[in-house]
Subunit: 300 residues, 2 copies
C-alpha cells in the first residue's frame, strides 16, 4: 500500500486500516468500536478472538465485506479501550454485545464471530434470536466442544514459550500451519495488520487473557444433552475452519455443523486457526455470497 | 418443462434430458456415454454411483455445469449399455475410465465423482495424475473409509426392503434425509430424473450390484498407512457431502479433506447422500466457481 492510497482511505474512512475508533456509552460501560463501509446488506457485527483487539481484524477480510454493508468491529468490556472488566463466561460477553447493539440502535444484523467471538455469536443467537439474521462462525466450537484453546499443548507451548518470537510473530506460528505456504500467508497477514499505525487499541493485559481463558473452560462444559442447545439456533449459519487448526480443532466445526439445523460447513486445506486470513480472497467471496442470500436455508 | 422447451433442447442436445447416448469402442469394451455442453472449461467427466446409469444424472446439476464446458457422462463396463462386466474393484473401474478417455482423445479433464464414482476418481488421480486437472468428490470415501454402503443397516434396510416403494421412490428415501424439506427435495429430484423418456439406459441387474458391492468391501481395506495414499494426490479437490448421509457417512469426507493436501470441504445441512441434488443451485454455483479457478490451490 502506498502513502497515496492511505490518504484516500483516510478520507473515506472505509477501511479497517483507517476507520476511526468510536465510543458508545452503554448502560454500564463505554464500548470502543469501529464502523465503516456501506451497502444494501445488514450491518455485520464482528466479534474478536482471544486477547484480540480492534487492531486484530485483517483488512483483507473485513474491507471486501465492507463494500456491501456496514462492518462494525466491537471491543467487548475490558478489552482495548472499552471500559469494565472481561466477564469470565461467554454468556457475560454476549450480554455486552447485545447491550452494545441496543445502544447503537441495531435491532437486526449479521454476525461474524471468530474463535472466542464465534462462541459469543452462538450465545447471542440463543439469548436474543431476533437480533441475528445470519451468522458466520469461524474457527470456533460449540458449548461442550473439545480441546478448546489448551495453550499448554506441546504444539502450541513451543511457540508461546519461545523468547525469540516477538509480538505478531507468535500469531504467525500459532494461527497458521507449519507448511511454507501457510507460514508465508501468516507473514503477509501480520504485515497487513501492521498497516494500521494510528489510533491503535490498548494491548490486553494478563487479566484479559485470564478471564477469557476461564470463559473457554466454562464453555467446554456441556449443559444437558451435548450439543442439544444448538438445535434451537435456526439462523442460516456458515461454519468455517482450517482443517489443521491446533487452537480449536476442526472437529469442533464438524460438531457445530452437524448439530445446528441450518449450517453449511466450509473447511480450508493447508491452514490452521487463521484459515480465513490465509485464503482471504476465497473467504471474502464465500462470505459475501452467503450474506447476500435471503433464503431461509444456509446453502448459497 | 413444457413440450416446446423440450423440442428446443432436443435440437441443441445440450441437456442431460435429451443428450443422445453415444458409443465409443475402447480397447476391449464399447462404452456408452453422453456428451453435451460447451465453453472454455476443461471437459468434466462424471462418474456415477452404485447401480446408477447415465439416466441417473440430475439435469439440475449437470445442465448448469454444461454451460461452461463439455460434460461427459460415462457408463463404465457392464453398466447400462456398455459391454463387458463390472470389475469387483475400484482400481478395475478406474482402468476402464482411463481407457475410455484415451479412446476419446481426452488427455486432461476435470472429474466429478459421486459416491462410487468418487472412489474411481481418486484412483484415476493416483494411477494417472496427468489426466486430472481438478476433482469434485461428492458423497464418497477414501480407501480405508468407514461404514461404506452397508445396506443391511436398519436405517437403510427398512427402505430397501419396503415392498411399497417402487423404482425411484427408494432413492428418495435413502438419498435424502427424513425431514419434510429433504424428502420434498427428493421428490423433486426423481421428477427431474423422469424428464428423460427416450433413449434410456438398461437397468442394472443383480450382477452389477454384486460386483460393485465387492468393490466397496475391497475399498474399505486400507493399504499401508490409513489415508496415507491420499497425500500423493495434489490436484485441487472439492469434497462435498450431506451432513446426514446414511449411505457413506460424512466422517469419510472429513477424513478425505484432512488427508488430501489440497482439498476444500463443503458440507450441506438437512441432507443425506443426495445433498447436491437437494441444493442443486448452490452446488452448481460452487462447483462452477471451483472449476473456473486456475489457482494451484483448491480454495475458490
Amino acid at each position: 500500500m502506498t502513502e497515496d492510497t492511505r490518504m484516500s482511505l483516510t478520507t473515506t474512512a472505509s477501511s479497517t486500516i483507517v476507520a476511526p475508533t468510536q465510543f458508545m456509552q452503554g448502560r454500564n460501560e463505554t464500548y470502543a468500536y469501529r464502523r465503516f463501509g456501506h451497502g444494501a446488506g445488514r450491518p455485520l457485527l464482528c466479534l474478536q478472538h482471544f486477547t484480540g483487539t480492534l487492531d486484530n481484524w485483517d483488512p483483507a477480510v473485513t474491507d471486501p465485506l465492507a463494500s456491501g454493508r456496514e462492518v462494525i468491529l466491537f471491543g467487548s468490556a475490558g478489552v482495548g479501550r472499552s471500559t469494565g472488566t472481561v466477564p469470565p463466561t461467554v454468556t457475560g460477553m454476549a450480554a455486552h454485545a447485545l447491550g452494545f447493539l441496543d445502544s447503537l440502535g441495531v435491532d437486526n444484523c449479521d454476525v461474524l464471530g471468530f474463535s472466542l467471538g464465534g462462541m459469543v455469536a452462538q450465545q447471542m443467537a440463543r439469548d436474543r434470536p431476533s437480533i441475528v439474521r445470519r451468522m458466520i462462525l469461524v474457527g470456533t466450537a460449540p458449548r461442550g466442544g473439545e480441546d478448546i484453546m489448551h495453550l499448554d499443548k506441546p504444539t502450541l507451548a513451543r511457540h508461546l514459550g519461545d523468547p525469540t518470537l516477538k509480538g505478531y510473530a507468535v500469531l504467525q506460528k500459532i494461527f497458521f500451519a507449519s507448511t511454507p505456504s501457510s507460514q508465508a500467508a501468516g507473514s503477509a497477514f501480520i504485515e497487513r495488520l501492521a498497516q494500521r499505525t494510528d489510533d491503535l487499541d490498548t494491548a490486553p493485559g494478563r487479566e484479559v487473557a485470564s478471564a477469557q481463558m476461564a470463559a473457554f473452560r466454562e464453555w467446554e462444559q456441556a449443559t444437558g444433552t451435548r450439543f442439544g442447545d444448538l438445535k434451537g439456533i435456526h439462523q442460516p449459519t456458515l461454519v468455517v475452519n482450517g482443517l489443521h487448526d491446533e487452537l480449536i480443532p476442526v472437529s469442533n466445526s464438524y460438531r457445530l455443523a452437524e448439530s445446528l439445523p441450518n449450517a453449511v460447513l466450509l473447511a480450508y486445506p493447508d491452514s490452521g486457526h487463521g484459515s480465513i486470513f490465509q485464503f482471504h480472497e476465497s473467504f471474502a467471496r464465500q462470505a459475501a455470497a452467503f450474506l447476500a442470500s435471503d433464503a431461509p436455508f444456509a446453502p448459497y
